[in-house]
């Protein structure tokens, strides 16, 4: 039992933190724990959670994806342009947008695995190229509004549950299974721990890298498509907040930014924590700036608590207590 706790310490801490936050904020503002408010937060978490899904895979594999903002945005623009407000074209518009995201991801993966471009540089370059590309294409002007079906996906409900949360839940189950129960997951963790050892062990590193980044492009595009339903149209810059939040969610969830450890369950907690914090904005009359400060502090605190340095510190303290007991007995 102790070993189990130790291994999943980071994730447990993240969920504990989330619960504490929730309780605190419910004291601060009435109606925070009301059904409708919880639903709203769930929906907002879902967007972060979906983008962070791909980011989780990429980070566990030892990389990072800085291209999510504009993959998201391009998918959003593409799908709304193709559909032009109607539901019918969605039958090809959505798959095309998703495939486009996956393709960009695959491009990232090949650049990194085949040509040895560092992940930061590759995904950064792709991000700015996509940004410039879509801005040139649209001339910087806002695009068509989102079709009713997408709006339903984003804000509609099936029973008491928002559709997008159900989609998120399904993706979460798939992600968790992929990571913990499949060969792909096993290879991904190995590669994130040491790419050299993975090579020497016959792990298909090229394939794994490409798959991880393809998945990240896919989820960023999916989030983009869904997000247009929430905001009722695609606008330029809608993807920007998701770079920081996707990485932060993964980090708060306990994954090592270097790779080789972590889980999607942890990322979910991270997404929830970030959303609750955002909800504090109107509740505490916090300005945008204050929120950013809080974000930063929260990241530092959670990552510190889960770090080895702190656990060593606590271990030393625990041992000194133990010794005192021994001396007395």
């Amino acid at each position: 039992m102790n070993a189990l706790l130790a291994r999943h310490r980071a994730v447990l801490l993240a969920y504990l933190g989330m619960i504490v936050l929730l309780l605190l904020t419910s004291f601060v503002s009435q109606g925070f724990l009301s059904g409708s408010h919880l639903r709203t937060m769930a929906v907002l978490s879902a967007f972060i959670g979906i983008v962070a899904l791909g980011q989780t895979f990429v980070i566990i594999g030892g990389g990072i994806d800085l291209s999510v903002p504009w993959v998201l945005n391009c998918a959003a623009v593409l799908v709304t342009l193709m559909a032009n407000g109607a539901d019918g074209p969605l039958i090809y518009a959505i798959p095309i947008a998703l495939a486009g995201g996956a393709l960009v991801g695959a491009l990232n993966g090949f650049g990194i695995a085949l040509f040895g471009v560092p992940p930061i540089i590759m995904t950064l370059a792709v991000n700015v190229i996509l940004q410039g590309g879509i801005l040139i294409y649209t001339g910087g002007a806002p695009t068509a509004s989102a079709p009713p079906l997408i709006q339903f996906l984003a804000v509609g409900r099936i029973g008491p549950l928002p559709v997008v949360v159900l989609i998120w839940a399904a993706l979460a189950v798939a992600a968790t299974l992929l990571l913990s129960r499949t060969a792909f997951g096993r290879y991904l963790y190995a590669q994130g721990t040491s790419a050299t050892v993975a090579e020497f062990s016959g792990v298909p590193t090229l394939r794994i890298t490409v798959l991880a980044y393809t998945l990240s492009g896919f989820t960023a595009a999916a989030a983009g498509v869904l997000l247009t339903g929430y905001t009722a149209q695609a606008y330029l810059g809608m993807g920007d907040p998701y770079l920081f939040t996707s990485i932060a969610a993964v980090a708060i969830g306990g994954a090592s930014i270097l790779g080789g450890s972590g889980s999607y369950i942890g990322t979910i907690a991270g997404a929830l924590v970030l959303t609750i914090l955002t909800g504090l904005l109107p509740a505490l009359n916090l300005s945008n700036g204050a929120l950013l400060v809080v974000y930063g502090v929260v990241i530092l605190v959670t990552v510190s608590l889960a770090s080895d340095a702190v656990s060593d510190f606590f271990a030393v303290i625990a041992r000194s207590f133990g010794r005192r007991d021994n001396a007395q007995s």
């Binding site: 129960r181 499949t182 096993r186 050892v197 062990s201 016959g202 080789g260």
Partner: protein
């Protein structure tokens, strides 16, 4: 004059006792050898002498004064320099920059005086006749042997009164080894103390006056090297008499050719290798360090690009990556040189490490079968007698010998019947070494074909059925039967160098 006196030194890391009671006395002007299996505490003890680690108990005196260095810098200031197996060289700096690192000659404005630095380096090389590479070469471009020499030069540059050499010759070719042995004697003659750690008894007998033996974290004995025999030394190290390190050689080779090489070449480091490795055979690869052995093994495992023809069990095969090599029964497996950075995921469990190369074997439709994995793992743990608390223990916490066994198990699970072993017993305690040699013999008897390289000549002589000697990247000779001897191997490895 007694220079170092250590009494009852102890050190623990949390619950693990690295040293329980280390006693050590050495004089100035002496070469004093330190022997012990891995895990016996030698490394911890010299780390304490070098100020890298602080002891928990015991007393330590240097030249009659209490010696409690707060850190490595204090130890340096006290005149103690150590050359560890783990090199402290910075790859992107040059030889000169590394030798004088943090002690460079400075100008008035605080910048390093490059020419002065280079001259000082050459003067240092001259004074001790150090066969070192040019001072302007970047360390990252040097071979392991060259780096070892630079590391030694770095230690000498401090003009220390105590020099600790930790397995310094394990990476050096014979000529440089002779230089180092001579140097040790010269330094002692100058009045310095040389603490010499090595597993090579022959070297110890050649240069050391006394030898202190560690076992299980404590000093067991100190002998005069001239007055003690090998059996006693080994008995002290192991705590028991060991009948034989090497298993009896039984001819198990058949006529079937497992691995056939024709014209194998790698860059300009390996040229035109023709070799036939038979089923059931244990073939050793020998030669001076850096003469193509690493390239040969890397080429056969797909880590280096190569030219030439390779046939495995009669079928031609192109190996461009380890994935091409690890193809099951007709494949080639490698136990690599560097187990910590090439062979194991230190932060992952023993179980995950063991099965990493054979994940498809317990995967159905992409999903892992935990039960089938456990069966494979238990089988290997049992067969190889790997000492780990549970299979979920982190591989990084295992001893060197057990880590090596995990890598063996990992490769055996791939069912490849051709095994490449690159220096499989390096840094491994004597007990596990014996187990590994027996394992190699058993596998050969089962029909495996084994190609192994060792930097320890006696190992090759005692274990190999045939020996391929490389010289300057070419195959100098293939020795078998009575032709296999240390003399003959060295001669084949060096004849051309002699003629120069």
């Amino acid at each position: 004059m007694e220079l170092i006196e250590a009494v009852g030194i102890s050190k623990r890391y949390g619950g693990i006792v690295a040293l329980s009671r280390a006693d050590f006395r050495a004089d100035a002007g002496e070469v004093h050898a330190l022997l012990g299996e891995n895990g016996a505490g030698k490394s911890t003890f010299i780390q304490i002498l070098a100020g890298i680690v602080r002891p928990n108990g015991g007393t330590l005196h240097l030249a009659g004064q209490a010696y409690q260095p707060a850190n490595a810098r204090a130890a340096e200031a006290a005149g103690i320099a150590a050359v560890f197996q783990e090199l402290s060289l910075v790859p992107d700096l040059t030889v000169a920059e590394n030798v004088w690192f943090r002690r460079e000659p400075l100008s008035l404005i605080g910048t390093v005086r490059k020419r002065r630095e280079r001259d000082a380096t050459l003067a240092l090389f001259e004074r001790y006749r150090i066969p070192a590479p040019a001072p302007t070469r970047e360390v990252r471009r040097l071979t392991l042997a060259e780096r070892q020499i630079v590391e030694i030069a770095k230690a000498l540059s401090r003009d220390p009164s105590v020099i600790i050499l930790d397995e310094a010759t394990s990476a050096l070719p014979p000529r440089e080894t002779d230089w180092l042995l001579q140097l040790s004697q010269d330094l002692a003659a100058e009045g310095k103390l040389v603490i010499y750690i090595s597993h090579r008894l022959a070297e110890i007998r050649q240069i050391a006056q006394r030898v202190t033996i560690f076992r299980n974290g404590a000093t067991v004995a100190t002998h005069d090297t001239a007055a003690v025999d090998d059996e006693t030394i080994i008995a002290d190290m192991l705590g028991r008499r060991m009948d034989r390190l090497y298993p009896p050689r039984i001819a198990t080779a058949t006529d079937r050719t497992a691995l056939k090489l024709r014209g194998l070449s790698v860059g300009d480091r390996l040229a035109d290798i023709d070799l036939d490795l038979k089923e059931g055979e244990v073939m050793g690869v020998a030669g001076l360090q850096g003469h193509g052995q690493r390239e040969l093994f890397q080429a056969l495992f797909g880590v280096s690009r190569s030219r030439g023809a390779v046939e495995v069990w009669g079928k031609p095969i192109a190996i461009r990556s380890p994935r091409d090599a690890l193809v099951g029964r007709d494949g080639i497996a490698l136990v690599p040189e560097d187990r910590r950075s090439h062979g194991l995921l230190l932060s992952k469990s023993v179980r995950e490490n063991l099965t990493l190369s054979v994940v498809p074997r317990f995967t159905r439709f992409g999903f892992l079968s935990r039960s089938r994995e456990r069966a494979l793992v238990d089988e290997q743990l049992r067969t190889l007698q790997i000492k780990a608390g549970t299979p979920d223990q982190m591989a990084g916490t295992l001893s060197g010998g057990n880590q090596q066994k995990v890598i063996f198990g990992k490769m055996l699970l791939t069912q490849s019947r051709i095994l490449l072993l690159y220096d499989p017993t390096r840094g491994i305690d004597v007990g596990t070494k014996g187990e590994i040699f027996r394992l190699m013999r058993d596998l050969a008897a089962k029909g495996y074909a084994i190609l192994f390289y060792s930097s320890d000549l006696p190992e090759i002589v005692n274990v190999a059925d045939r020996v391929a000697v490389l010289r300057n990247g070419k195959l100098a000779a293939i020795l078998s039967g009575d032709d296999i001897s240390e003399h003959r191997i060295l001669r084949e490895a060096m004849v051309e160098a002699r003629a120069a």
